[in-house]
Protein backbone atom coordinates (compact mmCIF):
# COMPACT_ATOMS: atom_id res chain seq x y z
CA UNK A 1 0.00 0.00 0.00
CA UNK A 2 2.85 2.33 0.85
CA UNK A 3 4.29 1.67 -2.61
CA UNK A 4 1.13 3.00 -4.19
CA UNK A 5 0.76 6.09 -2.01
CA UNK A 6 4.45 6.96 -2.36
CA UNK A 7 4.30 6.51 -6.13
CA UNK A 8 1.09 8.46 -6.25
CA UNK A 9 2.57 11.49 -4.52
CA UNK A 10 5.73 11.32 -6.62
CA UNK A 11 3.58 10.93 -9.74
CA UNK A 12 1.59 14.05 -8.92
CA UNK A 13 4.86 15.93 -8.36
CA UNK A 14 6.15 14.63 -11.69
CA UNK A 15 3.06 15.88 -13.52
CA UNK A 16 3.21 19.19 -11.65
CA UNK A 17 6.85 19.65 -12.65
CA UNK A 18 5.70 19.53 -16.30
CA UNK A 19 8.25 16.81 -16.98
CA UNK A 20 9.17 16.89 -20.69
CA UNK A 21 9.23 13.12 -21.04
CA UNK A 22 5.71 12.80 -19.65
CA UNK A 23 4.47 15.43 -22.03
CA UNK A 24 6.23 13.95 -25.03
CA UNK A 25 4.52 10.63 -24.32
CA UNK A 26 1.12 12.25 -23.82
CA UNK A 27 1.60 14.22 -27.02
CA UNK A 28 2.45 11.11 -29.07
CA UNK A 29 -0.63 9.38 -27.66
CA UNK A 30 -2.95 12.26 -28.39
CA UNK A 31 -1.53 12.81 -31.86
CA UNK A 32 -1.65 9.17 -32.96
CA UNK A 33 -5.09 8.57 -31.45
CA UNK A 34 -6.39 11.84 -32.84
CA UNK A 35 -5.27 11.02 -36.38
CA UNK A 36 -6.66 7.48 -36.14
CA UNK A 37 -9.98 8.83 -34.92
CA UNK A 38 -10.08 11.45 -37.65
CA UNK A 39 -9.41 8.91 -40.42
CA UNK A 40 -11.82 6.34 -38.98
CA UNK A 41 -14.51 9.02 -38.62
CA UNK A 42 -14.10 10.33 -42.15
CA UNK A 43 -14.54 6.76 -43.39
CA UNK A 44 -16.94 5.34 -40.81
CA UNK A 45 -19.53 8.12 -40.57
CA UNK A 46 -20.35 8.17 -44.32
CA UNK A 47 -20.12 4.38 -44.44
CA UNK A 48 -22.53 4.07 -41.53
CA UNK A 49 -24.86 6.53 -43.22
CA UNK A 50 -24.85 4.55 -46.47
CA UNK A 51 -25.46 1.28 -44.65
CA UNK A 52 -28.25 2.73 -42.49
CA UNK A 53 -29.93 4.40 -45.43
CA UNK A 54 -29.29 1.93 -48.18
CA UNK A 55 -31.47 -1.02 -48.93
CA UNK A 56 -29.32 -3.74 -50.39
CA UNK A 57 -28.87 -7.47 -50.17
CA UNK A 58 -26.84 -8.64 -47.22
CA UNK A 59 -27.36 -5.50 -45.14
CA UNK A 60 -28.29 -7.50 -42.04
CA UNK A 61 -25.26 -9.76 -42.43
CA UNK A 62 -23.01 -6.75 -42.91
CA UNK A 63 -24.27 -5.20 -39.67
CA UNK A 64 -23.76 -8.50 -37.82
CA UNK A 65 -20.20 -8.66 -39.20
CA UNK A 66 -19.49 -5.10 -38.09
CA UNK A 67 -20.83 -5.88 -34.63
CA UNK A 68 -18.58 -8.93 -34.49
CA UNK A 69 -15.61 -6.78 -35.41
CA UNK A 70 -16.29 -4.65 -32.34
CA UNK A 71 -14.98 -7.56 -30.30
CA UNK A 72 -11.73 -7.96 -32.26
CA UNK A 73 -8.85 -8.12 -29.73
CA UNK A 74 -6.13 -5.56 -30.37
CA UNK A 75 -3.47 -8.28 -30.49
CA UNK A 76 -5.30 -9.95 -33.37
CA UNK A 77 -5.36 -6.68 -35.28
CA UNK A 78 -1.69 -6.16 -34.38
CA UNK A 79 -0.77 -9.56 -35.72
CA UNK A 80 -2.87 -9.07 -38.85
CA UNK A 81 -1.35 -5.68 -39.73
CA UNK A 82 2.12 -6.97 -38.79
CA UNK A 83 1.81 -9.73 -41.38
CA UNK A 84 1.29 -7.09 -44.06
CA UNK A 85 3.90 -4.54 -43.06
CA UNK A 86 6.72 -6.67 -41.66
CA UNK A 87 9.78 -6.93 -43.85
CA UNK A 88 8.45 -10.07 -45.51
CA UNK A 89 4.88 -8.75 -45.88
CA UNK A 90 3.54 -7.29 -49.13
CA UNK A 91 3.81 -3.75 -47.74
CA UNK A 92 7.24 -4.49 -46.31
CA UNK A 93 9.07 -2.18 -48.74
CA UNK A 94 7.22 0.84 -47.30
CA UNK A 95 9.06 0.44 -43.98
CA UNK A 96 5.97 1.04 -41.94
CA UNK A 97 6.69 -1.28 -39.04
CA UNK A 98 7.49 0.48 -35.76
CA UNK A 99 6.28 3.85 -36.95
CA UNK A 100 3.37 6.02 -35.89
CA UNK A 101 1.78 5.25 -39.26
CA UNK A 102 1.73 1.56 -38.37
CA UNK A 103 -0.07 2.28 -35.11
CA UNK A 104 -2.54 4.50 -36.95
CA UNK A 105 -3.32 1.75 -39.49
CA UNK A 106 -4.01 -0.74 -36.71
CA UNK A 107 -6.07 1.72 -34.68
CA UNK A 108 -8.17 2.70 -37.68
CA UNK A 109 -9.02 -0.98 -38.14
CA UNK A 110 -9.86 -1.17 -34.45
CA UNK A 111 -12.29 1.76 -34.37
CA UNK A 112 -13.72 1.84 -37.87
CA UNK A 113 -16.37 -0.71 -36.79
CA UNK A 114 -17.13 1.40 -33.70
CA UNK A 115 -17.69 4.60 -35.65
CA UNK A 116 -19.66 2.74 -38.32
CA UNK A 117 -21.98 0.79 -36.05
CA UNK A 118 -22.64 3.73 -33.75
CA UNK A 119 -23.37 5.91 -36.79
CA UNK A 120 -25.77 3.27 -38.11
CA UNK A 121 -27.50 3.29 -34.72
CA UNK A 122 -27.61 7.10 -34.63
CA UNK A 123 -29.04 7.37 -38.16
CA UNK A 124 -31.56 4.60 -37.54
CA UNK A 125 -32.93 6.51 -34.57
CA UNK A 126 -33.78 9.47 -36.81
CA UNK A 127 -37.47 9.76 -37.58
CA UNK A 128 -38.43 8.70 -41.11
CA UNK A 129 -40.55 11.84 -41.43
CA UNK A 130 -37.43 14.01 -41.69
CA UNK A 131 -36.60 12.41 -45.01
CA UNK A 132 -40.12 12.81 -46.28
CA UNK A 133 -40.27 16.43 -45.12
CA UNK A 134 -37.00 17.36 -46.80
CA UNK A 135 -38.10 15.67 -50.01
CA UNK A 136 -41.51 17.30 -50.17
CA UNK A 137 -39.91 20.70 -49.66
CA UNK A 138 -37.88 20.07 -52.80
CA UNK A 139 -34.59 18.74 -51.47
CA UNK A 140 -32.53 16.51 -53.73
CA UNK A 141 -30.88 13.33 -52.47
CA UNK A 142 -27.78 15.10 -51.25
CA UNK A 143 -29.75 17.81 -49.44
CA UNK A 144 -32.01 15.18 -47.90
CA UNK A 145 -28.97 13.25 -46.70
CA UNK A 146 -27.63 16.47 -45.14
CA UNK A 147 -30.87 16.97 -43.24
CA UNK A 148 -30.70 13.46 -41.79
CA UNK A 149 -27.02 13.78 -41.01
CA UNK A 150 -27.71 17.04 -39.25
CA UNK A 151 -30.50 15.53 -37.18
CA UNK A 152 -28.16 12.70 -36.21
CA UNK A 153 -25.25 15.02 -35.45
CA UNK A 154 -25.09 14.46 -31.70
CA UNK A 155 -25.19 10.71 -32.13
CA UNK A 156 -22.40 10.85 -34.69
CA UNK A 157 -20.21 13.06 -32.50
CA UNK A 158 -20.85 10.58 -29.70
CA UNK A 159 -19.63 7.80 -32.03
CA UNK A 160 -16.42 9.72 -32.72
CA UNK A 161 -15.81 10.36 -29.04
CA UNK A 162 -16.38 6.71 -28.17
CA UNK A 163 -13.84 5.74 -30.84
CA UNK A 164 -11.26 8.17 -29.47
CA UNK A 165 -11.81 6.81 -25.98
CA UNK A 166 -11.12 3.32 -27.29
CA UNK A 167 -7.83 4.12 -29.09
CA UNK A 168 -6.34 6.35 -26.43
CA UNK A 169 -6.57 3.47 -23.97
CA UNK A 170 -5.50 0.57 -26.18
CA UNK A 171 -2.09 -1.02 -25.74
CA UNK A 172 -1.84 -4.12 -27.96
CA UNK A 173 -1.66 -2.37 -31.32
CA UNK A 174 0.65 0.40 -30.16
CA UNK A 175 3.03 -2.13 -28.66
CA UNK A 176 3.08 -4.64 -31.53
CA UNK A 177 3.14 -2.18 -34.42
CA UNK A 178 4.78 0.85 -32.79
CA UNK A 179 7.46 -0.91 -30.83
CA UNK A 180 7.46 1.58 -27.94
CA UNK A 181 10.36 3.67 -29.32
CA UNK A 182 11.07 6.51 -26.94
CA UNK A 183 9.93 9.94 -28.11
CA UNK A 184 8.57 8.43 -31.28
CA UNK A 185 6.08 5.61 -30.80
CA UNK A 186 5.96 5.50 -27.03
CA UNK A 187 2.38 6.13 -25.99
CA UNK A 188 0.87 6.45 -22.54
CA UNK A 189 -0.20 2.83 -22.43
CA UNK A 190 3.00 1.31 -23.85
CA UNK A 191 5.11 3.49 -21.55
CA UNK A 192 3.10 2.28 -18.58
CA UNK A 193 3.61 -1.33 -19.58
CA UNK A 194 7.37 -0.75 -19.95
CA UNK A 195 7.78 1.06 -16.64
CA UNK A 196 5.86 -1.68 -14.93
CA UNK A 197 8.24 -4.24 -16.41
CA UNK A 198 11.17 -2.25 -15.06
CA UNK A 199 9.53 -2.14 -11.66
CA UNK A 200 9.39 1.66 -11.75
CA UNK A 201 6.01 2.95 -10.91
CA UNK A 202 6.22 6.71 -10.71
CA UNK A 203 6.03 7.48 -14.44
CA UNK A 204 3.46 4.67 -14.89
CA UNK A 205 1.24 6.08 -12.18
CA UNK A 206 1.64 9.62 -13.54
CA UNK A 207 0.57 8.47 -17.00
CA UNK A 208 -2.22 6.43 -15.47
CA UNK A 209 -3.55 9.53 -13.73
CA UNK A 210 -3.38 11.57 -16.95
CA UNK A 211 -5.10 8.77 -18.89
CA UNK A 212 -7.87 8.52 -16.32
CA UNK A 213 -8.43 12.26 -16.31
CA UNK A 214 -8.54 12.26 -20.12
CA UNK A 215 -10.96 9.32 -20.14
CA UNK A 216 -13.13 11.05 -17.59
CA UNK A 217 -13.25 14.15 -19.76
CA UNK A 218 -14.03 12.11 -22.86
CA UNK A 219 -16.81 10.27 -21.08
CA UNK A 220 -18.28 13.51 -19.80
CA UNK A 221 -18.44 14.83 -23.35
CA UNK A 222 -19.77 11.49 -24.63
CA UNK A 223 -22.47 11.54 -21.98
CA UNK A 224 -23.45 15.06 -22.93
CA UNK A 225 -23.84 14.17 -26.61
CA UNK A 226 -25.67 10.93 -25.89
CA UNK A 227 -28.09 12.89 -23.76
CA UNK A 228 -28.66 15.39 -26.54
CA UNK A 229 -29.70 12.64 -28.94
CA UNK A 230 -32.56 11.57 -26.71
CA UNK A 231 -34.41 14.87 -26.49
Amino acid sequence: MELLTDSFISAILLIASLDPEVFSIVWVSLKVSGISTLIASLMGAPLGFLIAYGSFKGKRILIVCLNTMLALPTVVIGLFVYSFISRRGIFGPFDLLYTQKAIIIGQVILILPIVTTLTIAAISRIDERYRKTAMTLGANRWQTACVIFREARFGIVAAVIAAFGRVIAEVGISMMLGGNARGFTRTMTTAMALEYDKGEFILAVALGIILLVLSFGINLIFHFFQGRTRT
Binding site: Y130, T133, T136, G138, E151
Partner: protein, 225 residues
Protein backbone atom coordinates in the same frame (compact mmCIF):
# COMPACT_ATOMS: atom_id res chain seq x y z
CA UNK B 1 -57.03 19.95 -65.18
CA UNK B 2 -54.08 20.02 -62.81
CA UNK B 3 -54.01 16.27 -62.14
CA UNK B 4 -55.52 13.45 -64.12
CA UNK B 5 -54.99 10.00 -62.66
CA UNK B 6 -55.85 6.93 -64.63
CA UNK B 7 -55.82 3.31 -63.52
CA UNK B 8 -53.71 4.08 -60.49
CA UNK B 9 -53.08 1.21 -58.09
CA UNK B 10 -50.77 0.90 -55.14
CA UNK B 11 -49.90 -2.50 -53.76
CA UNK B 12 -48.02 -3.46 -50.63
CA UNK B 13 -46.92 -7.01 -51.24
CA UNK B 14 -50.00 -8.65 -52.66
CA UNK B 15 -52.40 -6.25 -50.95
CA UNK B 16 -53.94 -3.52 -53.06
CA UNK B 17 -54.41 -0.49 -50.84
CA UNK B 18 -55.34 1.93 -53.60
CA UNK B 19 -57.28 1.34 -56.80
CA UNK B 20 -58.38 4.45 -58.64
CA UNK B 21 -59.55 4.05 -62.24
CA UNK B 22 -59.99 7.78 -62.77
CA UNK B 23 -59.50 10.94 -60.75
CA UNK B 24 -59.27 14.54 -61.81
CA UNK B 25 -58.24 17.55 -59.82
CA UNK B 26 -58.75 21.03 -61.11
CA UNK B 27 -56.46 23.94 -60.53
CA UNK B 28 -57.27 26.39 -57.76
CA UNK B 29 -59.92 24.34 -55.97
CA UNK B 30 -60.05 22.93 -52.45
CA UNK B 31 -60.67 19.19 -52.16
CA UNK B 32 -61.57 17.17 -49.11
CA UNK B 33 -60.60 13.53 -49.00
CA UNK B 34 -62.75 11.59 -46.58
CA UNK B 35 -62.54 8.02 -45.48
CA UNK B 36 -62.10 5.70 -42.52
CA UNK B 37 -58.72 4.74 -41.13
CA UNK B 38 -56.75 2.59 -43.51
CA UNK B 39 -58.81 3.69 -46.51
CA UNK B 40 -55.69 4.81 -48.35
CA UNK B 41 -55.92 8.57 -47.87
CA UNK B 42 -52.31 9.07 -46.88
CA UNK B 43 -51.15 6.77 -49.66
CA UNK B 44 -53.09 8.82 -52.20
CA UNK B 45 -51.62 12.09 -50.90
CA UNK B 46 -48.14 10.60 -51.08
CA UNK B 47 -48.71 9.71 -54.71
CA UNK B 48 -50.14 13.15 -55.52
CA UNK B 49 -47.15 14.66 -53.72
CA UNK B 50 -44.76 12.59 -55.87
CA UNK B 51 -43.35 11.03 -52.71
CA UNK B 52 -44.52 7.55 -53.55
CA UNK B 53 -44.75 5.86 -56.91
CA UNK B 54 -47.94 4.02 -57.88
CA UNK B 55 -47.58 0.32 -58.65
CA UNK B 56 -49.44 0.76 -61.92
CA UNK B 57 -51.19 3.57 -63.78
CA UNK B 58 -50.48 7.00 -65.20
CA UNK B 59 -50.65 10.53 -63.97
CA UNK B 60 -50.96 13.68 -66.01
CA UNK B 61 -49.76 16.73 -64.15
CA UNK B 62 -50.36 20.11 -65.81
CA UNK B 63 -51.34 18.08 -68.89
CA UNK B 64 -47.93 16.42 -69.05
CA UNK B 65 -47.41 12.72 -68.37
CA UNK B 66 -45.46 12.13 -65.18
CA UNK B 67 -42.23 10.27 -65.56
CA UNK B 68 -41.62 8.30 -62.37
CA UNK B 69 -37.83 8.57 -62.39
CA UNK B 70 -36.40 10.07 -59.21
CA UNK B 71 -34.97 13.14 -60.92
CA UNK B 72 -38.19 14.13 -62.63
CA UNK B 73 -40.23 13.47 -59.47
CA UNK B 74 -37.80 15.70 -57.63
CA UNK B 75 -38.59 18.53 -60.02
CA UNK B 76 -42.32 18.04 -59.62
CA UNK B 77 -41.93 18.13 -55.83
CA UNK B 78 -40.78 21.71 -56.15
CA UNK B 79 -44.39 22.59 -56.97
CA UNK B 80 -46.26 20.27 -54.62
CA UNK B 81 -45.81 20.23 -50.87
CA UNK B 82 -47.31 17.74 -48.46
CA UNK B 83 -47.81 18.38 -44.76
CA UNK B 84 -47.77 15.24 -42.66
CA UNK B 85 -50.51 14.26 -40.28
CA UNK B 86 -48.03 14.70 -37.44
CA UNK B 87 -45.57 17.17 -38.91
CA UNK B 88 -42.02 16.98 -37.65
CA UNK B 89 -39.90 20.10 -37.39
CA UNK B 90 -36.13 20.14 -37.85
CA UNK B 91 -34.15 20.39 -34.60
CA UNK B 92 -33.54 24.07 -34.99
CA UNK B 93 -35.30 27.40 -34.66
CA UNK B 94 -38.71 28.16 -36.15
CA UNK B 95 -37.02 30.59 -38.53
CA UNK B 96 -34.54 28.00 -39.82
CA UNK B 97 -37.36 25.51 -40.31
CA UNK B 98 -39.35 27.88 -42.44
CA UNK B 99 -36.22 28.92 -44.31
CA UNK B 100 -35.44 25.38 -45.50
CA UNK B 101 -37.39 25.31 -48.77
CA UNK B 102 -36.18 28.77 -49.70
CA UNK B 103 -32.56 27.84 -49.15
CA UNK B 104 -33.02 24.81 -51.35
CA UNK B 105 -34.42 27.07 -54.05
CA UNK B 106 -31.47 29.41 -53.63
CA UNK B 107 -33.61 32.41 -52.77
CA UNK B 108 -31.30 35.27 -51.73
CA UNK B 109 -31.01 35.78 -47.98
CA UNK B 110 -32.65 39.19 -47.84
CA UNK B 111 -35.64 38.04 -49.83
CA UNK B 112 -35.86 34.93 -47.67
CA UNK B 113 -36.19 37.06 -44.56
CA UNK B 114 -39.05 39.08 -46.03
CA UNK B 115 -40.96 35.99 -47.17
CA UNK B 116 -40.43 34.17 -43.87
CA UNK B 117 -41.66 37.06 -41.73
CA UNK B 118 -44.67 37.61 -43.94
CA UNK B 119 -45.58 33.92 -43.79
CA UNK B 120 -45.03 33.62 -40.05
CA UNK B 121 -47.35 36.59 -39.68
CA UNK B 122 -49.94 34.81 -41.78
CA UNK B 123 -49.98 31.77 -39.49
CA UNK B 124 -49.65 33.88 -36.35
CA UNK B 125 -46.22 32.61 -35.35
CA UNK B 126 -44.11 35.72 -35.87
CA UNK B 127 -43.34 36.00 -32.15
CA UNK B 128 -41.86 32.49 -32.17
CA UNK B 129 -39.35 33.21 -34.93
CA UNK B 130 -36.31 32.45 -32.78
CA UNK B 131 -37.94 29.78 -30.62
CA UNK B 132 -36.58 26.23 -30.68
CA UNK B 133 -38.98 24.25 -32.84
CA UNK B 134 -39.06 21.13 -30.67
CA UNK B 135 -40.40 23.12 -27.71
CA UNK B 136 -43.61 24.12 -29.55
CA UNK B 137 -47.06 22.75 -28.79
CA UNK B 138 -49.02 20.65 -31.28
CA UNK B 139 -50.96 23.59 -32.64
CA UNK B 140 -47.87 25.76 -32.97
CA UNK B 141 -46.01 22.93 -34.69
CA UNK B 142 -48.83 22.56 -37.21
CA UNK B 143 -48.76 26.30 -37.93
CA UNK B 144 -45.01 26.34 -38.43
CA UNK B 145 -45.25 23.30 -40.70
CA UNK B 146 -47.85 25.18 -42.71
CA UNK B 147 -45.60 28.24 -42.93
CA UNK B 148 -42.65 26.06 -43.94
CA UNK B 149 -44.73 24.66 -46.80
CA UNK B 150 -46.17 28.02 -47.85
CA UNK B 151 -42.93 29.97 -48.20
CA UNK B 152 -42.01 28.04 -51.31
CA UNK B 153 -45.22 29.24 -53.03
CA UNK B 154 -46.38 25.77 -54.00
CA UNK B 155 -48.87 25.13 -56.77
CA UNK B 156 -50.49 22.41 -54.67
CA UNK B 157 -50.72 21.92 -50.92
CA UNK B 158 -51.56 18.47 -49.61
CA UNK B 159 -52.56 18.36 -45.93
CA UNK B 160 -52.91 15.04 -44.19
CA UNK B 161 -55.42 15.47 -41.35
CA UNK B 162 -54.35 19.08 -40.78
CA UNK B 163 -56.54 19.53 -37.71
CA UNK B 164 -56.86 16.05 -36.29
CA UNK B 165 -54.94 16.61 -33.07
CA UNK B 166 -55.71 20.25 -32.46
CA UNK B 167 -57.95 22.19 -30.11
CA UNK B 168 -60.84 24.12 -31.58
CA UNK B 169 -58.98 27.42 -31.64
CA UNK B 170 -56.03 26.04 -33.58
CA UNK B 171 -58.35 24.14 -35.91
CA UNK B 172 -60.12 27.37 -36.81
CA UNK B 173 -56.81 29.17 -37.34
CA UNK B 174 -55.53 26.48 -39.71
CA UNK B 175 -58.79 26.34 -41.64
CA UNK B 176 -58.87 30.10 -42.03
CA UNK B 177 -55.32 30.17 -43.27
CA UNK B 178 -56.01 27.44 -45.83
CA UNK B 179 -59.08 29.29 -47.06
CA UNK B 180 -57.16 32.55 -47.27
CA UNK B 181 -54.24 31.18 -49.25
CA UNK B 182 -56.59 29.43 -51.63
CA UNK B 183 -58.47 32.64 -52.30
CA UNK B 184 -55.48 34.97 -52.45
CA UNK B 185 -52.80 32.78 -54.00
CA UNK B 186 -54.95 30.32 -55.94
CA UNK B 187 -53.15 27.40 -54.36
CA UNK B 188 -54.84 24.08 -55.04
CA UNK B 189 -55.46 22.30 -51.75
CA UNK B 190 -56.34 18.76 -50.87
CA UNK B 191 -56.80 17.74 -47.26
CA UNK B 192 -57.90 14.56 -45.55
CA UNK B 193 -60.17 14.63 -42.54
CA UNK B 194 -62.60 12.85 -40.30
CA UNK B 195 -64.69 15.89 -39.50
CA UNK B 196 -67.67 16.55 -41.74
CA UNK B 197 -68.17 20.16 -40.72
CA UNK B 198 -64.71 21.10 -41.94
CA UNK B 199 -65.62 19.70 -45.28
CA UNK B 200 -68.67 21.87 -45.61
CA UNK B 201 -66.91 25.04 -44.56
CA UNK B 202 -63.74 24.60 -46.54
CA UNK B 203 -63.93 22.20 -49.46
CA UNK B 204 -65.27 22.93 -52.92
CA UNK B 205 -65.26 19.24 -53.78
CA UNK B 206 -65.24 16.06 -51.77
CA UNK B 207 -63.82 12.63 -52.50
CA UNK B 208 -64.79 9.59 -50.46
CA UNK B 209 -62.27 6.83 -50.21
CA UNK B 210 -63.01 3.39 -48.81
CA UNK B 211 -60.79 0.33 -49.00
CA UNK B 212 -58.68 2.11 -51.58
CA UNK B 213 -61.57 2.91 -53.89
CA UNK B 214 -63.30 6.21 -54.60
CA UNK B 215 -66.96 5.80 -53.77
CA UNK B 216 -68.19 9.24 -54.83
CA UNK B 217 -66.11 11.51 -56.92
CA UNK B 218 -68.56 13.99 -58.38
CA UNK B 219 -68.05 17.64 -57.73
CA UNK B 220 -70.36 18.91 -55.05
CA UNK B 221 -71.73 22.40 -54.89
CA UNK B 222 -69.61 24.75 -52.90
CA UNK B 223 -71.46 25.81 -49.80
CA UNK B 224 -70.12 28.51 -47.57
CA UNK B 225 -70.22 27.94 -43.79
Amino acid sequence: MLYALSKITRKYGSRTVLDIPLMEIEKGAIYALLGPNGAGKTTLLNILGFLEVPTTGDILYSSKPVNFSESSLQNLRKEVVMIDQHPILFTSTVYKNVEFGLKIRRVPQKKRGIIIEETLDLVGMRDFEQAQAHRLSGGETQRVALARALVVSPEVLLCDEPTSNLDVENQAAIINTLKQINEQRKITIMFTTHYMYQVSSLAHHTFFLDHGKLTTAQAEPFCQG
